[in-house]
Structures are given as C-alpha cells and as structure tokens.
C-alpha cells in the first residue's frame, strides 16, 4: 500500500479552494449522516475531469477542428473515437465507485505529534475488480487500494495528530481516477469516528514515591527483601532483561520472572500534585510518568480531578490512563 503525497486540488487553484467549504457543507446537508456499513449510492458520487482529462478534451477539440478544416474524414473519425473513449472513461470512473461498501472503521490512537491510524475496511461486492480506490480524510495521506472481485481490503490512513485531545474525523473521502486518469470520481462518507491524541510524555520531575498497597502483587524488580514468585506470561512493555530465556529455550514460550515483596507497592499520579501553571505541560508530565511506570512494570494509578483510575498495570491499563489524559478537559462526545 502506497501513501502518495496528497495533491490537494485536481482542478484549478484558488477557485476550487474557495468552493471547498461550501461544497462540503452542501454535501453534508444533502447526504446526512452515514451508518456502517455504508454503500456508495449512484447519487452521491461526484465526478469532474482531471487536468489530464481537460487537456485530453482540448486535444480532441483541436483534432476535430483540424479534421473539419481539411475535410479529412480519417482525422475526424479518430477524433470521434477519442471523444467516445473519454465518455466511456467517465462511465468507467463513475461505476468504479458506485456500489462500493465501507464495511468498518477502526482507530488506533497515538501521542500528539505522531500519526494515529484510521483503519478502513472497504468491500467490493461486484463481480469485477475495482482498481485504484483511493481513501483519505481531510487531513490524512491518500492510500490506494485494489479490490478483487467480491473481496475486501483494509486501508490504514495515517492521520497526523497535532494537539492533545479528540480529533474528529469529519468525513472520509473515497475517490478514484480509474481507468485512464481522465476523470476523478469521489464520494464522502460522513461517519463520526474520532482519534485520540495522548499528551506527549514529557517532563523531568521525579514521580511520587511508591506507596504500599494492600494487595500482594508480583513485581518484576528484585529489591533486597523480595522473593522469587514464579513465571508469568510476557506482556507488552516488559523488559527483555526480565525474560526467562532458559525457559524460552526449552520451548515454553516467552515468560518473565517475577518476584514478590511482602507488601506490593504502587504509585499514584495525581494531577493536583503536579505543580505548574500550564495544564498541558502537567498532563505531559503525567503521561511521561505513566509511560515510564509501565515500562518498568510498576503498578500505578491516576487521579485527574474527580476521576480516579485505580492502580493497575499492563497495556490495557496504560491505554486507559493515556485515554483519560487525552480526554481530560474535553467535552464529552
């Protein structure tokens, strides 16, 4: 799958740019909100000639004038063949999109400043393949798909996340220039998908000290008084140093050694305890602590104003914490 650099306008410069917003509003009013799976209907496919298409039409016009000028039958006939092919190209481009189904949309969140992923599953229920289906959002790069007859494919759209919080993907654009690149047909699917941008893990402050917790949770770290507690399965974020390589060599899979201290510890990260005027940098500090604590395999909890996440560990917990950080202060959807 190749992400091509997004060429924003196919037709003419500023006029298209100026018409873009009103057109988007009009389309939204016209089509309304979509539900998945969304099948592209005949009446919501828009089509315009590309620059190549306009040039091609101009070429056909010049040929027609030359043919008529010289009463040259063969040149005239070639012109009509060209014009006919251009009209057929228009139909082919249009039909390449009609009947296409957007089956599913999944999202992968990421830190602000990185790219989140919008994963579109596109399905072709027709009995002929569809080539060169391009998927994009208003912000993402364009990804081209080739769909075999009756097949489906997934497009991973990399959406740049510029600032912390929720990024609404207003609409998804499916387009195609198949077959000759003379026309571009496109359609919009309005679906309320959103990507989360976690605060960037940034900040030099020391994390709060570990507090004793009631539970007897196994820890990966051996302090002086800890005892061998056995093996458990490898989780994301575990350090390779703690892997029981001997067990791995015996074919028992990836396991990590755990140790148990008489009283398991955890850290509580509280927004209120992080000093500083700027909310974003405080959230970034919390994010940095969460990431670090997870990497060390510690147990940690998070308190954001009224919301508290109980201490825990593992990838899911990390993601829940980052999610809470991302959404802190955002309006509920």
């Amino acid at each position: 799958m190749n992400a091509t650099v997004r060429a924003r306008f196919d037709i003419g410069g500023t006029l298209a740019a100026r018409l873009r917003k009103p057109f988007a509003r009009w389309v939204r009013r016209r089509q309304g909100e979509d539900h998945l799976p969304a099948t592209v209907g005949r009446r919501r496919v828009y089509i315009l000639p590309t620059r190549a298409g306009v040039a091609f039409a101009a070429l056909a016009l010049v040929m027609l004038l030359a043919g008529l000028n010289y009463s040259n039958s063969v040149a005239t006939m070639i012109t009509f063949l060209l014009a006919g092919c251009e009209l057929i190209a228009m139909h082919l481009t249009h039909r390449n999109l009609v009947g296409l189904t957007l089956r599913d949309i999944a999202t992968v969140d990421a830190f602000a400043g990185e790219h989140g992923l919008l994963q579109l599953t596109v399905e072709n229920s027709a009995d002929s393949p569809r080539m060169g289906i391009e998927c994009e959002t208003d912000d993402s790069a364009r990804v081209a798909l080739d769909l075999p007859a009756g097949g489906r494919a997934r497009a991973d759209l990399a959406v740049p996340l510029t600032r912390r919080g929720r990024l609404r993907v207003d609409r998804i654009q499916l387009s195609t220039k198949f077959p000759f690149g003379l026309f571009r047909a496109w359609t919009y699917v309005h679906y309320d998908a959103s990507l989360l941008a976690w605060p960037v893990p940034r900040g030099q402050r020391e994390p709060p000290a570990e507090a004793a917790s009631g539970g007897q949770a196994p820890s990966l770290h051996r302090a002086g008084d800890e005892e061998w507690a056995g093996l458990r399965e490898f989780r994301d974020g575990d350090s390779p140093r703690q892997v029981a390589w001997r067990a791995f060599a015996r074919g028992r899979g990836l396991l990590v050694k755990t140790y148990e201290s008489p009283a398991a510890h955890h850290r509580m990260f509280d927004l209120a305890r992080v000093a500083g005027a700027d909310l974003e940098s405080r959230l970034e500090q919390l994010s940095a602590w969460v990431v670090a604590a997870h990497a060390r395999g510690e147990r940690y909890g998070l308190t954001l104003g009224a919301q508290t996440l109980e201490p825990g560990s593992g990838s899911k917990h990390r993601e829940a914490c980052l999610r809470a950080l991302a959404l802190f202060g955002e309006d509920p959807p």
Partner: protein, 652 residues
C-alpha cells in the same frame, strides 16, 4: 526508481515511437533520428541498462537552449514553421525532448499526448485504407499507456490495461460511426497550412518523345470510373487529359494565352453518364471521357479545347460527375483565329516530314482524304510500336518516320499532328488514357497510369474536331488490350509478374475495390453526402440543423447504451449456495413469523422467531447455528453445503 514507474515510461515511449513510425515518411530523417535516439535512451534507462542522469542545476536552461536550436533547425530546413510537414517535424523534436526529461506521470502523459498528435498529423497526411489498422493500433496503445500511467502502483497489470483499452475503443466505435455520419461537417478552411512534398505524377502539360513511355510502366491507379448503365466498348474508352497545341519540332506543349471561341457541337448518339474519382497528381488537369459539353464541376476552367483544368493542383483525391458524347459533329467552320493557332509550326524542323506532307496534301483532294492518306502511309511505312524506341534527334518526327521507324504512341501522335499542321490542316495532340480494367467487385473501371496514351485531333470541315489515333494503325492490338498485355515481355519483371498472376490480380482487384469504397464512401464523405443521406431518409430540405438533431439523438442513445452495458457488468454478486438455502429457510419462516430484516444476523433472527413462536425455537435455533457455522466458520466442505441445502429444503 520503482519498477512500475519504469513501466509507465516504457508505455509512454512506445506510444511515442508508434506515432513516430506513422509520420516517419513525412518528417525529415534527422528529426526521426533524434526522436528514435531519445526513445532508445529512455527505454535503456527503463530497462536499467543505462543510468538515469542526476538532476542538475541549469537543466531547464539547457532544455531551453536545445528547444531554441530545434526550432531554428526546423525553420532552416522548411523555411517556415507553418505547414503540416514543419509542424510534424517540430512535434517529433519536442516529443523527443520531453522523453529526455520524462520523470513524473505528468511527463509521461504529455509524451502520450504527443503520440496522439503525431497520429493526427499522420491522418492529415494520409487517409489510405491500409493505414487505418495502424491508426487504431496507435489509439489502442495510447489508451493502454494512459491506464498504466494512471495506475503505476498496485496490482494493475499491463494485460488488464490492454484489455480495458480495447474494450473502451470497441465501445466507442458505434459512437464514432454515428458521429462520422451525422456530425455536421462544416467543411472549408478555417485556416490554411501549407502542404508540400507531393510529387507530381500522371500526364503533364508537355509531351516529348518517350515521356508517355515512362508512365506506361507505372502500375499505380490514375483514376476510377463508375458508369451509369453499361460502360462503352473498350475501344471507345478514350479519356481526354491535357490537350497540347504548340510544337517546337521536338516537344508538344500546352501553351497558355491562346483562346478562340469554342465551336458549336451536335451530339450524335446517347450521352454517357459517369463519375470519375481522380487520384491526386499534383497537377491541375482533370480527365473526361471523350467530348464533354459542360464542365463536370464548378470552380474549374473549361477551355476552348474542352480541356478541364482545376484552379489549383490536385493534391487530394477528387471526384466529379460528367456527361460525355462519344460521337459529335460540328456544322461550323473553324474560326480563322482557331485555324491559325492550330496550324502553327516552326518552319526549320523536321524537313523530310514537312516535304512529304506538302507533297501528299497536293495529291489529296481535300483535308479528309489527306488525313486518311497519311494514316495509310503510316501503316505502309512498317513502323514498330515499342516501349523502347531508342535515341531520337532534335528532328524527332523525321527520326521516327524515316530513320528508326520505331516509336511509342507519343511519337506517332506527335508525327501525325505535325504532318497535318505542315499541310495546313488544324491538328493538336491529346494526351490521356485509353482503356482500363473493369473491376468486377466494385463495378467500376480502374484506369492505371500505364494506360496513358496520346493521340491526335484533326479539324475536318463538316465533322469538326475528329479523333485520329495513329497508334491504332501501327499497333491495332493496343485498342483491345492493355499496355501490359501488348508489351508483356518488355515490362519490368515486377509489374509483369503482378499482371500475369491470376490470383494476385484477383486479390489486387478486391483490394482496389475496398480502397475505392473507402475513398468514395469514407474519405470523400462531406456535408453534401450528409444532405444526400438525409434526403434518402426522407427529409425534404435537409439542412445542418437536422443533422444536429439526429446527431444529438444518436449521442443520447449511445450514452444510454453505454450506461446500461456498464451498469449490468457491476451486478452485485448473487447469493451463493449457502446463502440461497438460508434465504429459502427465512422465506418459509416469513409465513409464520415476522420477516427477517435485511441486515439481521442468523442468531438475532432465530431469537426473534423463537420469541414469537416458542414451539419453533428448537429447530430454528438449530438451523441458524448450522448456517452461522457454514458461513462464518472455516471454509466448509462441499458435502456440508449439500447437507445444509437438503435440510433447508426439508425445513418447515
């Protein structure tokens, strides 16, 4: 470089090469060489045999300089940038330049565009039937290349591109045919490009001994004639071309500036109506059968000698309809001016022939008897009709009649007319064509350059201008047979073989018939033909608006056809066997329970049915489970599907 980008470059380059091939006969050799070199270089890079040069600063400037040099070179070799040949040369060079810098899909697209423009140039220069497949091939390749350029990435194959392109072309052909017939042809010149480079052929406005003989070995068609009704007998097929009226002792010329009133004529016998399609000759002369009373078309000059001359050289095939009379009579006397013009002779040439003429005229009672006596003398003299009469002298008539005694039609016509004039009898030499070959396929007479002939017309009081062909007394067989049959042995081997092989001749005639159809029905199709067609379709006074309406209707029907054809081929996949069996189950259940919604899954449906009809819960949930397993589980075996189908049929 991604291999697929290389594929785009190769496709675009091949289209350019195709266009180059089509115009290579019309473009100067050095242009073709440069373009072919650029294409080879690009192909070398695409196949990784050569390295792509690194982009350097100043590249644009360099290309600008090269462009200027190319333009200057074209300007120097053509003396103009206007004109088809100069334009083609420029296009070839610019395409070559674009090939050198082709990197992006846009560059490739421009190269394909140049290929299409070269196709246009080729079509403007040559509309022959045999080139039509080449033009179609070029279109096919161009569209395939455009598809490849548009889909450089992904799974799109070259084969798919070719198939797609062929399909689009095939679907466009009906539109092209309809548009060809009905799109209003506003002919005429919006602007004029100079055409050049067409060599002249056929009969000219002067005739020296031997000049017809060089035409006699040419197998090319000169013109074709379609007669209305039965064609006249072969010996009457004298097609008049340039009439020559001035003799310097060696060469007969058509001199301008000699006019006298055209004599009155009375036709004897019925008229012959026919249509002639003339091949381009690069000369202005039209050909007509024997005597015409009216010029066959407007915009031509109809001389006092009934010679029809176009205003310009004929560079495109030309057709016209004419009415001729094979026998005519003129009750008048020739005007004094006419008599003076048609008896002019330089006095110091051909002394022996002159002396003989004066002596024979003195013995004869009148002009008619004299003309017959000279003809008889030609017959007695033992002259030999040959394509190779040997060297002649400045007194060419004396040489022919008294020394070599060999000659071709031009020699005899020249000698006869000279002897008439020497005795004060008005005479002129007529060049043209005698005979022809009836094409059984097309029902027309094909006249080749080899049928070129020369004869004389002599003014005889009471009859008017009378055709006397001295060749017929020397070689009577020429009247009945074509030149190839008369001179089979002395013809060049190639044309001889062509003529003698029966099956080849058959194929050649069929091909010529196809060409004739193409020329008349396609190449010469114009606004007038469109109006004729409309009259046949029942329009009373057709004008271009009718054409416009018909064209619009044809375009709309074609669009509807295309829409239907293309819509059908994206029909949604039909439900497969499992789906059909499941549909049967749900339809059966629809009689006893609420129908299944379109998007409802099997479990939800079964639960709903079970809620509505608890007594059916067991079997419905059972079959829903089986369906879900087949549909969403691992790919089922054929037996499992068949079992499920049986169960579905038995269900209920």
């Amino acid at each position: 470089m991604i291999p697929n980008a290389a594929r785009s470059h190769v496709a675009a380059t091949l289209v350019f090469l195709g266009g180059l091939l089509l115009v290579c006969a019309d473009a100067p050799l050095w242009c073709v060489g440069i373009a072919a070199g650029a294409a080879a270089w690009r192909l070398g890079i695409a196949s990784r045999r050569l390295a792509e040069p690194k982009p350097r600063r100043g590249r644009r400037f360099l290309f600008g300089v090269i462009t200027a040099i190319f333009v200057a070179a074209v300007l120097m070799s053509f003396r103009t940038l206007n004109g088809l040949a100069a334009g083609t040369a420029l296009l070839v060079l610019m395409g070559a330049l674009k090939l050198l810098e082709a990197r992006t899909p846009r560059d490739d697209g421009i190269v394909v565009g140049v290929g299409l423009f070269l196709l246009l140039a080729a079509a403007l220069a040559n509309q022959s039937l045999w080139r039509l497949p080449l033009y179609l091939l070029q279109l096919w390749g161009a569209f395939a290349a455009m598809a490849l350029i548009a889909h450089a990435n992904g799974t799109f194959t070259t084969r798919a591109a070719l198939r797609l392109s062929a399909r689009a072309l095939a679907m466009a052909i009906p539109l092209a045919a309809l548009a060809f017939v009905f799109f209003p042809r506003f002919g005429g010149q919006f602007w004029a490009l100079e055409r050049g480079g067409l060599a002249t052929t056929g009969l000219g406005d002067e005739m020296s001994p031997g000049s017809i003989g060089t035409l006699a070995v040419e197998y090319d068609p000169a013109f074709r004639v379609q007669f209305e009704g039965a064609p006249p007998p072969r010996e009457a097929l004298y097609f008049r071309g340039p009439v020559l009226n001035s003799f310097d002792g060696f060469t007969w010329r058509r001199e301008r500036g000699y006019f006298y009133p055209r004599e009155e004529l009375e036709p004897i016998g019925p008229p012959v109506r026919y249509r002639i399609t003339l091949e381009p000759t690069g000369r202005p002369f039209l050909v007509t059968l024997d005597t015409v009373f009216e010029p066959p078309r407007r915009g031509v000059y109809f001389g006092h000698d009934r010679q029809v001359t176009a205003m310009n050289d004929i560079t495109q095939p030309m057709s016209y309809e004419a009415v001729s009379y094979l026998r005519t009579r003129s009750p008048q006397r020739l005007s004094t001016l006419g008599r003076r013009y048609e008896t002019r002779l330089t006095n110091d040439r051909n002394p022996r022939a002159r002396a003989l003429a004066l002596e024979m005229r003195a013995r004869a009672g009148n002009d008619t008897e004299y003309a017959r006596a000279v003809l008889e003398w030609f017959q007695r003299q033992g002259l030999e009709y040959t394509l190779d009469p040997g060297a002649t002298s400045i007194d060419s008539v004396d040489t022919t009649l008294f020394d070599s005694k060999r000659g071709f039609c031009a020699h005899f016509a020249s000698a006869y007319a000279m002897m008439m004039r020497a005795a004060g009898v008005p005479a002129r030499v007529v060049t043209g064509y005698l005979g022809g070959e009836l094409n059984p396929m097309g029902g027309y007479l094909l006249v080749r350059q080899s049928e070129a002939h020369a004869w004389t017309e002599v003014w005889l009081d009471g009859q008017g201008w009378t055709r006397i062909d001295p060749t017929t007394v020397v070689a009577p067989e020429r009247l009945q047979r074509g030149i190839f049959e008369v001179f089979g042995d002395s013809m060049p081997a190639s044309s001889f073989v062509l003529q003698r092989s029966a099956w080849f001749n058959k194929i050649a005639l069929a091909w010529d018939g196809a060409n004739q159809w193409w020329q008349q029905r396609v190449v010469e199709f114009n606004l007038r033909s469109q109006f004729e067609l409309l009259s046949k379709l029942g329009f009373d006074s057709p004008d271009w608006r009718h054409l416009g309406w018909i064209f619009a209707a044809a375009l709309l029907s074609w669009l509807a056809w295309v829409t239907l054809t293309l819509r059908r081929s994206v029909a949604r996949g039909k439900p497969d066997r499992i789906g059909r069996a499941w549909l049967r189950v749900t339809r059966k259940l629809a009689r006893v329970a609420p129908a299944r919604a379109g998007t409802e899954g099997p479990y939800a449906f079964a639960a709903r049915v079970a809620a509505a009809r608890p007594e059916l819960a067991g079997p419905v949930q059972e079959i829903a489970l089986r369906y879900a397993r087949l549909r969403f589980g691992p790919p089922p075996a054929r037996e499992d599907i068949e079992t499920f189908e049986r169960e579905a049929r038995a269900f209920g």
